[in-house]
Structures are given as structure tokens and as C-alpha cells.
Symmetry: C2
Subunit: 564 residues, 2 copies
Amino acid sequence: MSKTYVIVGGSAAGPKTAAKIRRMAPEAEIIMIQKGKFLSMASCGFPYFVGGVFDDPNQLIATPTGAQRNPQFFSDVKNIKALTSTEVTAIDREKKVVHMRNLETGEEGVQHYDRLMIATGATAIMPNLPGKDLEGVTTLQSMEDAIYLKERLTSGSLKKAVIVGGGLIGIETCEALQLGGVQITVVEMLDQVLSFLDWEMAKHVENHIRSKGSEVITGCGVTEFLGKDGKVIGVKLADGRVLDCDLAVVAIGVRPNSGLAKAAGLEIGSCGGIKVNTFMQTSDRDIYAGGDCVEVTNLVTHQKMTWPMGDAANLEGRVAAQNMVLGNNVEYDGFIGTGICKVFDYVAGSTGLSEKQAKRLGYCNIMTAVQAAPDRPGFMGARPVIIKLVADRTTCRLLGMQAIGTGDVSKRIAIGAMAIHAKMRVFDLVNLDLPYAPPFSPAIDNFIIAAHVLQNKCLGRMEGISSLDVKAKLDAGEVPFLLDVRSPEEFMQMRLGIGEVLIPQEKLRFSRDKLPKDKDKEIIVFCKISLRGYEAYCFLKSWGYTNVRVMEGGILSWPFPREK
Amino acid sequence: MSKTYVIVGGSAAGPKTAAKIRRMAPEAEIIMIQKGKFLSMASCGFPYFVGGVFDDPNQLIATPTGAQRNPQFFSDVKNIKALTSTEVTAIDREKKVVHMRNLETGEEGVQHYDRLMIATGATAIMPNLPGKDLEGVTTLQSMEDAIYLKERLTSGSLKKAVIVGGGLIGIETCEALQLGGVQITVVEMLDQVLSFLDWEMAKHVENHIRSKGSEVITGCGVTEFLGKDGKVIGVKLADGRVLDCDLAVVAIGVRPNSGLAKAAGLEIGSCGGIKVNTFMQTSDRDIYAGGDCVEVTNLVTHQKMTWPMGDAANLEGRVAAQNMVLGNNVEYDGFIGTGICKVFDYVAGSTGLSEKQAKRLGYCNIMTAVQAAPDRPGFMGARPVIIKLVADRTTCRLLGMQAIGTGDVSKRIAIGAMAIHAKMRVFDLVNLDLPYAPPFSPAIDNFIIAAHVLQNKCLGRMEGISSLDVKAKLDAGEVPFLLDVRSPEEFMQMRLGIGEVLIPQEKLRFSRDKLPKDKDKEIIVFCKISLRGYEAYCFLKSWGYTNVRVMEGGILSWPFPREK
């Protein structure tokens, strides 16, 4: 007799589980129960719908060939019974049934299961602040939210908006609304946007957002939404400032929907997500779970965390389905923490640990390298990419990588993600055979160059200092000898103006009298990307200077205001 | 006392070695001797210069900040003495000197070395055919060649050209000249272009080239260049055909320039390249070598081969330099065989072994998977990518990957290259955490979906057949039941017309009477990309059909003419 599979949730992990069960068990009964109106919603696409990349919301639920993924589609094509606007209110594990209610008709029902999948997702967090129920205060989580934002944008009723939260969704929403002509302020409580980046990398992203005309305020929370006639007219910040606006989009994160599982007595993890093993099985052997509502393992830190990402949800659903049908036979080991975000014509991505995360986790012997370079030869229209690598100094294993810039960041993050998945060490990365041709990369790919910098540091062939640490020194009143080795023409066009001395690299050998007399004087040397800076460093060391460092990534990695 | 380093060759491996030696040994004497006129020539950029992506040839020798890499630059900036138009005629290993001659003045000289680097590169092969010395018969190897082609193209004197050889440079040159309005025929002796691809993948590339207006002839060699008044007017093929033309570009490969090393008694490998160990050291401990003139190890096959690629040359030079200065301390283990080629708005790439190469090498138990899918969601402007994976069935280790299409192929090849470098197995690839956001990939990246297909085949959950094997069956007169499960609308727009029966996937369960009565009848099922095809396969298997296979990659992977 064929089994009955019930799936609670119809967004990402749910439909993937249902479809995979169907392929594994063509005769089984499969019922998918979705609380919302829509199924298989590509919610990651909301900002692009709002921003006008496309205008038909049906594209968000379309298959690659254009079919709409509605209950009829699931029934006809996949023989899956899909109920929408239907909430599962309780799981009776003893009787192996779920209780449900149709949210439109109020009708209640009971459904038996042999195996149950919980894919209830997560809910956007709305802070309990005064004014949160005003019209115009919204999240961007549902199709309804997306349509509301798009209508506000296209109706012309929107002049100023505040985005509360500078994470992935906040930044993507900023881009969408800004491109629609709205004056935007992003307010982030932390001291930077995109917390998967290190501070100095995030500052470049903030600078880019500002260059597009939006405002970014960091290190300041929101205390109140101000209203008039029931509509939002402003946002009050913790420092007392008031930002006028006619829309406030709150994007400060999500909370796993684990209440149903908890009420049924299933184990819940310390982050509030449902506990599952690597088979995606909960503490009840007949109940599996996946997607934003569960906790999975970070393969770098070995910690259990929620990881509310669309790609992970699909992979988890695929694993759960195979195990639900055949018994536990395939595993989802976990994620490494890869994220990417388009920011206008800039891209910011990260995989594994940032330096900040690694330090917070107690890695005390880490090594970093920052490298800035064009992503292909100049004659092919080079665009810059800044890469930061984070490695464990003891094992030389790569722990994390960040990349930002207008160049091809996505490929470099993918390369870094593979290196971290495969637990590769710095020395495994210096001679990679990557796809090289002028339209795609420089002769030595940016990722490999970054690995070379890290290797040089590992082998003691280069001592580096981050732009952040240089700034901190200056702010603390220190006066290192700052040496810019670019050409006078470059210096005229762009310069830091932090007291640096200009000695072009080719003049350096003949200008030793311009260098400090004291061989122990601290010298910090740089150029545009610090390749010439590194060459100058080598000369200085050979002349007996003992305290020389290269400012890694050069002027391109300087996230602070420049003189010019 | 500081050492003297002599580098023979100034294109890629040579300048990289010289620059790295300078960083390792700031006080050393470094002399780089180049036979040609130009240094650090980005020869991979020639096709893009010819094709008009940029017009100033100086960009090919410019640093990222625009400085020209001429002898003055090397002297001023890097304190490297660079001699151009100077040929090293002999190496006297006993006296540790090289003999050289200035090709412009005829002046001869002798230069002592403590350590010598041989980076003499390779020479484009010109077959010894009648007419090879006619004006208009050329290779594309030197700056002079590139300028000649560009002048011919811009002067309007060029109407028809024949490209002899369908490898990377041949295809890139085809694109360059075709975009300039020249009528092109590519003639390839093998039965396909781009030999790093399997036949059926190459056929897609050939179809794309033809769709741009160029002709491609495979399986036919050239026997003669026909001339009039000393100028080429045609190319004669082995089958007797004559192609009129006023230019013939020969791009059939390169031969390592190992003569100098051989004459000095250094060991030469079986492919004609200089033998080196992983330190890039020749059989003489004071002589190192790198770049197109050496043999290095293919890390997948463990065979020594020449690998004349610009990226490898740079990496080898960097390793050689470190060992020349400090004694052997870092290694270049080898390459895995990664290549990529822009073909108009199409990209073709490969890493590791193709199926054909694997079979030729005696891997008898290999497994492949072909998968076609959009490279991002439809609403973000999806473009197709076809991926083929090749794995060892016994170890499940990935041996190779190919990708073609108008989508982001470069990223997927980079991912595959990392998997091969790290010796990852199919099961390591099914749950990768890659950078996902709608502008960059579908929720499950194309590479991961391809790994899923391979996993399904590994686990016996899917049996596949390539479009190539389907065609072979039909050509042999077999009549399998061919089942297309797309919609009638899709069928009207595009179809193979090979006798297939259309039963839309959603009708299949109610159309069992249209299927063969004989449960052992061979059935081959497909759709556009064979995702629905796979679902139909699962149904058919569950109904007791014993001989069902999915045509992998679906209609998108069919490289032969279609009815519509």
C-alpha cells in the first residue's frame, strides 16, 4: 500500500520536497498545505519585481517554460494535492494526523500522514515599536507586500522612504526604490550594512549606495514610527533625529516559524529553529523538516544555526524527500555561509567567516589578506574587485572570503566557497588552473592573486596592514612615514591626503635621502592596489628598514574620505 | 655578493620570473633577454585587438595603470635590464654563460649567470604545404601578425578568409574577423572544433558559429594554399574542394621552443617540451624553465604534457623565481586542463577530462550527466547553460566538466575546476553552498543541478542516454518509443521530428493506453531540458516499464538539425 506524505508549507523547501517525493514514489499520495495564497513563490525576486526588472508578478511563480505553479499545476503535472490559504493548526503525533483550517472559509479538517514534512519557513521580524501598525510601515516578505510596494512606487505617491535594516533584503529594497526615484535612507543599528562583510568592506558598499543618491545611517536604531491620520510620516531614531518619510520598510531579519513543531513536542534548537539531524529528520522519526524553520550546521564553525536562504531550503527539501521515501539514506551536512547581494552596479559577497566572525568565535591566530585588482585585462574593460581572505594561521586553512566591486564578484565568491567546502589550504590555492581568457579574467585570476598575497604573508615575505588599522593609527595620533609610490599624474588625480610622501616607485632607488634616517621608523607603503607598494616594500626591507608594512589593497581599499 | 639571474624570454613566464626575483632579491642583477621586439605582450588579447574591442596595440603591453612595459619601464621601475630583439644562441653550462646576438645590429655578446631561467615559449605550427609562403597566409602569434590582420581588416581589402584550425585561437580569430564583416570558413581536420569539448558539445558551438554567418567544415584537412601574383587566393581541402579567400590564418597549435635547451644538453620530455621537476628546475640544477616551452603534469591523468596557456606560464614563473632565489622551496604541482573560449555571444569551457579523453586514457567505468538549464530565474533574464559532467563510477570522483551556452559559463567552469583540484566526489557536490541571489543564479545553481543528475544516476534513480546515442540508434534503424512530454504549444514552436510521440506530462497518467503494450519496449523520454522528462521516467518505471531512459539535457542538448 502506498504511503501518504503531508508537507506543511508551500514556498521553497515544501514544493521541492513534494516534487522529489513524487519522483521517488510515483504512486504515493502527496498533500501540500500552504498557509498563504501562493505556492512556490520566488520571494528572493520581490525586490526585482518592485524595482521594475519585470512587471508581471506571475513570473514569480512561473516554471522556466512559463507555467503557473498553482494548485491546478501541482495536481495536473505532479499529481500533488496542494491546498492554499490553509493553516495547519496542530500535529497529533500519536494519531499521525494534522489539523487544519481554511483561512478563507473557516472550514476545519484533519489529514492523516505516514511521513510529515514541516517547511513552515520564517516570519519577517517587526519590532514592537510605537507606530508599527501605521499604514506605510511594512516588511517585504509576501507577495502582498511586494505588490503594495510596487503600487506605491508606480502611483507616484512615494517621495521619501526609510529602510530599517541594512541586510540583504534592506539593501536590495533600497536599490529597487531608489531606481524608482524615491529618496531613500537606510538605517542600520549595527555600525555597518551587510553584516556578512567586515567593517571596512561594508564601508565601500555604503559609499557606493551614497554615490547613487541614497543615504545610509549606521550605528543608530529606530525608536518610533511617527504617523498622521493613520499613515506613517516619519521615523524617529535613537539619537533623536526624525526622518520624514511616507514609507518605512522594515527588514531586520526573520524568525523561524517553529511554533507548530514546538506545540507538537518536537525538539527546538537554541536559535529557535526546529532541531533536525543530517537526514533532515526531527526528534520524531516520521517527521522531517527543512528550510527557514530549522537549524542546520555551519560547516566552518560546527555550530547549529538557522540559515534562511532559498538555495539551502531547496537542497534540504531534496534530502528530506529521499529519506522520507526510502528511509534515511542521504545527508545534508550543512552550509558554509555564502551570501551575495547586488547593490546597483556593485556586487558584495561573502563565504565562510569574516575576520570579525572568526575573532568572535575565538579563532585567535588568524591571518588576512586584502587585494584589489581589475577583474580582466584593461583592454577588455576591466572592472575592480576587492578580495579579502581570512585563514587560520596554524593550519593555513581558508576560513572565509569576501569580495566587493563592480567586476565579476559572483565567480570569485563561488571559487572561495568551493575552497572552503573542500577545506583547502592557502598553499592549495596559489597555482589553481581556473578558466582564463581575456574576456573572463586577468592572466592570474583575482582569487589566485589574493592567495599569493596570503602566501607571501604566510612565508614572511610580506608584512601587511589594513587600511582600517592605518586609519586607527592616524586617529590615535601616531605618525608613521606614509609612502605613496605612484606616479605624480596618479597623485594629482586621486590621493589620500593623510600626510603621505610621494616617491614614485621608479625613483625610489635614487631617493633614499628622502626616506627616514632611522631604520626602525615605522613605514607604511602603498600604491593604487599595493602591487608597486609591495615592490617598494621589498626594496625598503633590503635597505635595512625593520618596520615596514604594505597597506593591503592600496588606495582602492581605503574606505574613508580621500583628499581627492 | 649578490647573484646574477638571466631570463631567456620576455613574454609571460619570463617577465613574471624577473619581477618575482626582484621582489625576492632586491639587490640582485637581473637580465631578461627577449628575441622579439616587445615585452610582456598579452598575446591572448590579439583576437580582441584584431576584432576592434580596442584599437591601440600599446594596450597589449600596458600595466593596469597604463605604463608601457618596455625596456625603460623594466629598468626604471623594476631595475631589470631587458634586452629586446636579442636572441640567445647558446647556453654554455660549464662556464655558466649564455651567448647572444642582437638581431638588428648583428652584435654578439656573452652574459654570465648564476641562475638561468628558460622561458622561450612556443611557435605556432605552420604546416609544410605548398603555398605556405604566399602573402596572406599567416598565423596569429606575434604583434606583427596581429597588426597585419587588423590592417587587412580595416583597409577593406579583406572579403573572404579561411581559418585553418578550430581550436581556441582559430575560433577567437573567426569571431574577430566575422565581426569585421569578413566571410569566414573555419576548416578543422578533426571531426569537431574545440577539442577540449566532447563531440556533441562542440556541435552546439559549430551551430552557433554558423548562426552568426560563418561556415565551419570539420573532418577535412587542408592540402594546399593557392596563389596568384604571390598572394593567396584560395585554400584546397583534402576532399578536393577549393575555398576562395584573400587571407588564410593558420591556427593548428604550437610547438615548444626547446631547441636552445636541447642543444645545451638539458633533458627534453616525450612531448618535446623541456623536462622540469615540480620546482620548475631542469636537469641542470642552476637552470629553471617555465611557460610554453616546458612539460608539466596533468593532475588528473598524471601525464607530463606541454600546457601552453598564459595563466600557467605566469604561475610557473612565479614558482621558478622563488626557487631560483631561495633554493627549492615552493612547488608547481601541475594543471588540470581548464580552458574557456568566447564564441560571439556564446561561451564554451572545459576543465579536467572530457568523456572522449577519459575513454582514450583507458578509464573504462565512467559516468556522465548532461544537464541544460537557465543560468538565473526567468524574471532576471535567464540564459541557457548546458553542462556535462564526467565522473569515475568506481570512486565517484569528478574527472571533468564542460559547459556551453549564452549564460554565465565562466563561473560554472571555475566551480568545476575547484571540484577537480580538490578531488571532490559527486556526493560532495550535491549540497554546495554557492552564492545565490536572483541576479546571479537559479535557487539551485546549474552546477549543483548537474551534480544532482549525476547523483540520481549513481544511485540508480535515473537511467539516461545522450542525444548522441539516441541519434546513433535512429541512424542504425532502431525504433525506440520516443516520448516528448512538453505542452502542445511548445511542440508547435520547436520539435525534433524524429518520430516522437507527444504526451504532455500532465496527461501522461491518463494516457497509459498511448504507451507501448510491451513493458520491455525501449522508451526514450525527454522535454525541453528533461526535467519533466525525468518525472515522466519515474512514472513509467513505476508502471513496470523496464527499458526507459531519459534523453539527458532534453531538446536543448540536441546538436543535430530539428524539424522545427
